[in-house]
C-alpha cells in the first residue's frame, strides 16, 4: 500500500468577510485512506472541507488564501476550471439533500449535466452507483418513485450514490451521519469502509467514536487552526498536543 498524498493544503486560510475561519492550515490527505476532521462546533473543519472542492466559492463573502494541490495541481490557480475540480472531488452533505425528482433521476443528474446522453450508459451507471452505495437491493423495484419518499438513511445513501455516479477521485463528507439513527449510521460507516478501496475520503464528524471507527488519519481543529494530525490510533491514544488530549478525553467541546 502506498500512502501517497492525494490532496495537499498549504498555508490555507479562509475568510468570511473580515473573519478568518481557517488559519494557515497545511495538511496532507492520503490516497485511498479515510481522513477524519474533528473538533468542536465552529472550529473551521467544515469550512476547510468545503475548500477542498471550492464549494466555498458559491458563498459571495468567502475568500481563500493559500494553495490546495490535487495530484500536484493547485485548484486555486487562476486558470483552473472549478467544474472540473468538483467533478473530481465529490461531496456529501450533512443534511441529505436529494433533488425532488425520482431515485433514478437523482443518480442520473450528474451524468446528464456532464454530457452523458446514452440511455444504456446512464442505466448501467445508475445501477453501479446504487450498488456502490449499498442501496440497489432496496430500491431496484422503485427507481421511478420520488426520492423524497425514502427514509433519512436511504436518502443519505442516495446522495452518496449520486456523488459516485460521476466517478470522482475524492469524496468529501460533511457530518454525513449526524442526522441519522444508529442503524442508518452504522450502514454509512460500513459503506465508508468499503468505499476507501476506490476513493480517497475526507469526513468531518463531531462524533469522536465515529472518527475512531472509520478513519485511518485524524486531524484535530480548534478555533480555525489545525492543532494536530496523525494516524487515528495515535491521535486517540497518545496525542502530542495538550489541546487534543483535552478534547478527546471530553474536557471540552
Amino acid at each position: 500500500m502506498t500512502d501517497q498524498s492525494k490532496i495537499s493544503a498549504q498555508d490555507l486560510s479562509i475568510f468570511y468577510g473580515a473573519n478568518r475561519a481557517v488559519k494557515n492550515v497545511s495538511m496532507e490527505i492520503r490516497e485511498n485512506r479515510v481522513t477524519a476532521l474533528i473538533g468542536p462546533s465552529g472550529c473551521g473543519k467544515s469550512t476547510f472541507l468545503r475548500a477542498l472542492n471550492r464549494m466555498n466559492d458559491i458563498i459571495p463573502s468567502v475568500r481563500a488564501e493559500g494553495r490546495v494541490f490535487l495530484d500536484g495541481q493547485d485548484i486555486y490557480a487562476p486558470r483552473v476550471d472549478v467544474i472540473d475540480v468538483r467533478r473530481r472531488v465529490g461531496m456529501v452533505f450533512q443534511k441529505s439533500n436529494p433533488f425532488p425528482k425520482s431515485i433514478f433521476e437523482n443518480v442520473a443528474y450528474g451524468l446528464r449535466i456532464n454530457g452523458v446522453r446514452s440511455r444504456k450508459v446512464i442505466e448501467q451507471q445508475v445501477e453501479k452507483s446504487l450498488r456502490g452505495a449499498a442501496l440497489w437491493d432496496e430500491v431496484k423495484d422503485r427507481l421511478q418513485t420520488s426520492a423524497l419518499a425514502m427514509s433519512g438513511g436511504q436518502q443519505q445513501r442516495l446522495c452518496i450514490a449520486r456523488a459516485l455516479a460521476i466517478e470522482p477521485e475524492v469524496l468529501l463528507m460533511d457530518e454525513p451521519a449526524s442526522a441519522l439513527d444508529p442503524i442508518a449510521t452504522q450502514k454509512i460507516e460500513e459503506l465508508i469502509h468499503d468505499l476507501k478501496r476506490d476513493y480517497t475520503i475526507v469526513i468531518v464528524t463531531h462524533n469522536m467514536q465515529q472518527a475512531a471507527r472509520v478513519s485511518d488519519f485524524t486531524g484535530f481543529f480548534l478555533m480555525g487552526e489545525l492543532i494536530e494530525v496523525d494516524e487515528t490510533g495515535t491521535i486517540f491514544t497518545k496525542p502530542t498536543r495538550k489541546q487534543t488530549e483535552d478534547y478527546i478525553t471530553g474536557r471540552f467541546g
Binding site: R86, K101, G110, L148
Partner: protein, 325 residues
C-alpha cells in the same frame, strides 16, 4: 408583598394581569368582526353576480346562445355578438403573457441568482414601481410613443420578415393593434410575475443548489434543472395573477387596441376587448336592450376570468400532487 427571606422573587406572577372580562370581550369582538368582514366579501360577490345576471336577462333571452357565436356588432340594427370582444380579450392577454413570462422569470432569476447584491434591492424597487403607474399613464405612453413606433418600425419589420404568416399582415392603422395592446399589457403585468417569481425563487433550498454545484453543474445548469423545476408551481401562480390582471385591464387597452369589433387573423390589425367596449359604449347605451347586452358582456368577462383562474388553479394543484415541487 411580604417576602420571606430565601424565597425566590416571582416577578411574573406578581405583575402579570389575570385574564379579565374586558380582555375576553375584546377577543370575542375581534373574532366576530373578522368573520363578519369575511362573510361580507362573499355576500358582495354573490350580490354582484346576481345583479349582473338580472340586468342581462333581457339580452340573454333575446339572443340566447347566438350572442356567443355571432361576430356582428351593430347597435343601430340591434344585432349583438360578443365574439370579437372575447377574441380580443383572450388574444391580447395571450400576447401579453408570451412576452411577459420570459421577461418576468428572467428578471426574477437575475434579481435572485445573478445580480450583484447591491443592485438587487434597487432593481426590485424599480420593477415594483412599474405596478404603481396608473394604467391611463401607460395608455398615454402607448398612444404617443409605442403606437407611432409600431407604425413606423415594428409593424413594417414584422410584415417584411414574417409577413408570410397571416398573423403578421398589414395594413396598419396608425400603430394601434392587438399587438400594441399586448405589448402594453406585457409591461403592466411583468411586475406581478417578477414579484411572485422572486419570492418563490428565494425559497429554493441552498442545499439543493449546493448539491448541484458539487456535481460539477454550472450556474445555468443549476438554474435550469434544479431552481426552476422546484419553483414552477409557485411561478405558475404568479402567471395566473398576471393573466387575471391582463384580462380585465381596461384603460390602457382601450387607448391602443384600435376599437374595431372585428376578428382579424393578423395581430398587427386593430381589435377590441370586452373591457374596452364596456368603457366606450356604456354612456351611449340608449335602449334597454343595448344596456342589457353590455351587462352581459361584463358578465361574460367575469365568467371568463373566473373560469381561467379555476382552470389554472386545477392545473397547478395537479402539478403539485404529481411532484411536490
Amino acid at each position: 408583598m411580604e417576602k420571606k427571606p430565601g424565597s425566590p422573587v416571582r416577578l411574573f406572577s406578581t405583575y402579570a394581569r389575570s385574564s379579565t372580562r374586558r380582555v375576553r370581550l375584546m377577543d370575542g369582538i375581534a373574532g366576530k368582526g373578522t368573520m363578519a368582514a369575511g362573510l361580507l366579501i362573499v355576500a358582495l360577490l354573490v350580490l354582484l353576480l346576481n345583479e349582473m345576471f338580472r340586468l342581462s336577462l333581457p339580452a340573454i333571452c333575446h339572443f340566447g346562445i347566438g350572442f356567443f357565436t355571432s361576430s356582428d356588432w351593430d347597435p343601430q340594427g340591434e344585432r349583438f355578438g360578443v365574439l370579437p370582444f372575447l377574441y380580443g380579450t383572450l388574444v391580447s392577454s395571450a400576447i401579453a403573457l408570451v412576452i411577459a413570462i420570459p421577461f418576468g422569470i428572467g428578471t426574477a432569476l437575475f434579481l435572485t441568482e445573478l445580480a450583484p447584491q447591491r443592485l438587487r434591492g434597487a432593481v426590485a424597487f424599480v420593477v415594483d414601481m412599474l405596478a404603481a403607474i396608473p394604467s391611463v399613464v401607460y395608455g398615454l405612453w402607448g398612444v404617443f410613443v409605442l403606437a407611432p413606433l409600431m407604425q413606423s418600425h415594428v409593424g413594417p419589420f414584422l410584415e417584411k420578415t414574417l409577413g408570410f404568416l397571416p398573423l403578421f399582415r398589414g395594413p396598419f392603422y396608425g400603430g394601434v393593434s392587438m399587438l400594441t395592446a399586448g405589448l402594453i399589457l406585457a409591461v403592466m403585468v411583468v411586475p406581478f410575475i417578477v414579484a411572485i417569481a422572486r419570492e418563490v425563487l428565494l425559497t429554493v433550498p441552498v442545499d439543493l443548489k449546493a448539491a448541484s454545484y458539487a456535481l460539477g453543474a454550472t450556474q445555468w445548469e443549476t438554474i435550469w434543472k434544479v431552481v426552476l423545476p422546484y419553483s414552477r408551481v409557485g411561478i405558475g401562480g404568479g402567471v395566473v395573477l398576471a393573466l387575471g390582471r391582463a384580462l380585465g385591464e381596461t384603460m390602457a387597452v382601450t387607448m391602443v387596441i384600435g376599437n374595431q369589433p372585428r376578428i382579424n387573423a393578423s395581430i398587427l390589425q386593430p381589435g377590441y376587448s370586452m373591457a374596452a367596449v364596456l368603457a366606450n359604449e356604456f354612456n351611449e347605451a340608449s335602449s334597454k336592450l343595448y344596456l342589457s347586452v353590455l351587462v352581459e358582456v361584463g358578465l361574460t368577462l367575469f365568467l371568463v376570468t373566473f373560469l381561467i383562474n379555476i382552470a389554472a388553479r386545477v392545473l397547478l394543484w395537479r402539478m403539485r400532487s404529481v411532484h411536490p415541487h
